[in-house]
């Protein structure tokens, strides 16, 4: 009885096939176009930056400080400043983020309280970066008296990347099947040992990917370091954690809006942008490399 109600597979009314087929094609078309738009935009941006910036890239540009009111010379202090401040960010945000994620996912009693904490973390990811900058000034520069320094700027950027790191780490931990945890616990292994040896190794690629993506975003931020440590111009490379520093995104900002002769230094600005996106790209490639390396292991 039930069978009779179902549509027959053999249906000679080809139009009904066709209309479903067309709908499907339109659907796929929209998806395809969306991807295409993204790719084209990305290509245009990269082409624009490379074509306008490649001309100034030279060994001197990469290894010398700016000279003559930033109209000549290179951006070496800004490169090294960005590298240092990103390292400071990593030292702070990666362990804190990963440990917080381990606590939230493995130890905390799941319930209303953890839900609220998670919601707060996700909301923090949406706070404008300039707000982090102001907060960094109030907390690190003033209250903790770290001054405007790599330390203050790194910690501020760290706060900004924590939501990304925590969320990515938690997702990576969630993806590890419970059977690994239970299998280990059933052998009379302590909870921490089972996490350390049987959960983290399988989450590490996801955790590292999230951490590096967060860091590469931090490396490109201007607002949080603007008040907390970045210098307008500083010909030396920073000597300690309490030094101020030049940074690529801030240098780029100066070159495109604050310089006395913006038209003249435009190529340098594009060169700086090219170096910055190359740096970010290298970090992202690093993330891909780490992921594939850990994946092959198992």
């Amino acid at each position: 009885m039930k069978k009779a109600k179902e549509k027959s597979l053999v249906n000679c009314n080809l139009n009904s096939h066709k209309s479903a087929d067309i709908k499907q094609r339109i659907g796929f078309g929209i998806l395809r176009i969306s991807v295409l738009i993204i790719l084209v935009l990305l290509a245009v941006i990269i082409y624009d930056i490379i074509s306008k910036g490649i001309g100034v890239i030279s060994w001197e540009f990469l290894s010398q400080p700016p000279r003559r009111g930033m109209t000549e010379g290179g951006i070496w202090p800004a490169i090294i400043g960005t590298v240092f401040v990103t390292m400071m960010t990593a030292v702070f945000a990666v362990p804190v983020g990963v440990f917080a994620a381990i606590y939230l996912n493995e130890y905390a009693k799941q319930g209303k309280r953890t839900r609220i904490i998670r919601m707060a973390i996700r909301n923090l990811a949406g706070v404008p970066s300039v707000v982090y900058g102001l907060f960094g000034v109030a907390l690190f520069v003033r209250r903790f008296a770290f001054g405007t320094s790599i330390l203050s700027a790194g910690l501020t950027l760290g706060l900004m990347t924590l939501p990304v790191t925590i969320t990515a780490s938690e997702e990576a931990l969630k993806a590890v099947p419970n059977s690994y945890r239970h299998g280990a616990l059933a052998l009379g292994v302590s909870k921490w040992h089972s996490i350390k040896t049987n959960v983290l190794p399988h989450a590490i690629s996801g955790i590292m990917t999230g951490a590096i993506l967060g860091l590469s975003r931090a490396a490109g931020e201007t607002a949080p370091i603007l008040f907390t440590g970045a210098a307008y111009s500083l010909p030396r490379i920073p000597s300690s954690l309490s030094s101020q520093f030049m940074a690529l995104p801030y240098h780029l900002y100066i070159m495109s809006t604050q310089h006395s002769n913006i038209e003249m230094v435009r190529p340098i600005a594009y060169g700086t942008a090219l170096v910055l996106i190359s740096l970010v790209l290298i970090m992202n490639l690093g993330a891909i490399f780490i992921r594939s390396k850990f994946r092959n292991k198992h």
Binding site: Y180, A186, L187, G188, V189, N198
Partner: protein, 254 residues
């Protein structure tokens, strides 16, 4: 059963998932070096009961246990019990084979290593002994360094048995260990259980009455969170005392 030494004695056990009472007033004795099978329809509480014996239910939020479970006359729900140590003594094999994504060798060496054995020779010995006990050694001895994910489901389950044996437990809990396996792999595991009971006390949950009849010495029949009948396997299947047991084993429900 009265004359046999008891490995596990359960007295008046109640178990709750939140407000839902999953086990009611269970009392049962498990004799040493015998195979005891728990049978019953899905949702009757047999797996839940099995997991109360090594406190794996502790891992589920919102569960509660009343009553006592004595293992070698010690109450494992006493507040001073070290759960980690308890689970070392009460090994467990899960329903779905769950090898770790490590090499075959590392799967078996994982427990001993975690318990502080570092000596390579000692570990080699344990790995070989455990794999032999699990009747897997001959099949994998030439590829111990290969991933455990690459062997068949039946081999994976025997690997999990070897892994459980590697930490030298007294009791082996098995939660439907063959439900994901084909008949040949199932037969191998059943033979293995016969051998293992010489050294271990085995408690097995099974959805297959035939399996219980084939391999167990004692059988306990659960229904809706109650222990209906517990006796020699032969008695359960040939002259059950309770009408419900009879209905179940004759296939009238479940």
């Amino acid at each position: 059963m009265e004359n046999l030494e008891k490995k596990i004695i359960v007295n008046d056990l109640d178990f709750y998932y939140g407000d839902f009472q999953a086990l009611e007033n269970i009392s049962l004795e498990v004799p040493v070096n015998k195979v005891t099978a728990f049978i019953g329809p899905s949702g009757c509480g047999k797996s839940t009961f099995l997991r109360t014996l090594n406190r794996m239910n502790d891992l589920i939020a919102g569960t509660k246990v009343d009553g006592e479970v004595l293992i070698d006359s010690e109450n494992i729900y006493h507040e001073c019990v070290d759960v980690v140590n308890l689970r070392k003594r009460i090994g467990m094999v899960f329903q779905d084979p769950n090898p770790f994504p490590k090499s075959i060798y590392e799967n078996v060496a994982y427990g001993p290593k975690a318990h502080g054995i570092k000596d390579k020779d000692k570990l080699d010995q344990i790995v070989e002994k455990s794999l032999r006990q699990a009747a897997l050694w001959d099949e994998v001895k030439d590829r111990l360094d290969k991933s455990a994910m690459g062997i068949s489901g039946g081999q994976q389950q025997r690997l999990c048995i070897a892994r459980a044996l590697s930490v030298n437990p007294d009791v082996l809990l098995m939660d439907e260990p063959t439900s994901a396996l084909d008949p040949i792999a199932t037969a191998k595991i059943e033979d293995l259980i016969e051998d293992l009971k010489k050294e271990y006390t085995i408690v097995i949950v099974t959805h297959s009455m035939q399996q219980a009849a084939r391999i167990s010495d004692y059988t306990a029949f659960f229904l809706m969170g109650d222990l209906i009948e517990h006796s020699l396997t032969q008695n359960i299947f040939e002259k059950p005392e309770n009408k419900k047991t009879e209905d179940y084993i004759t296939g009238r429900f479940g």
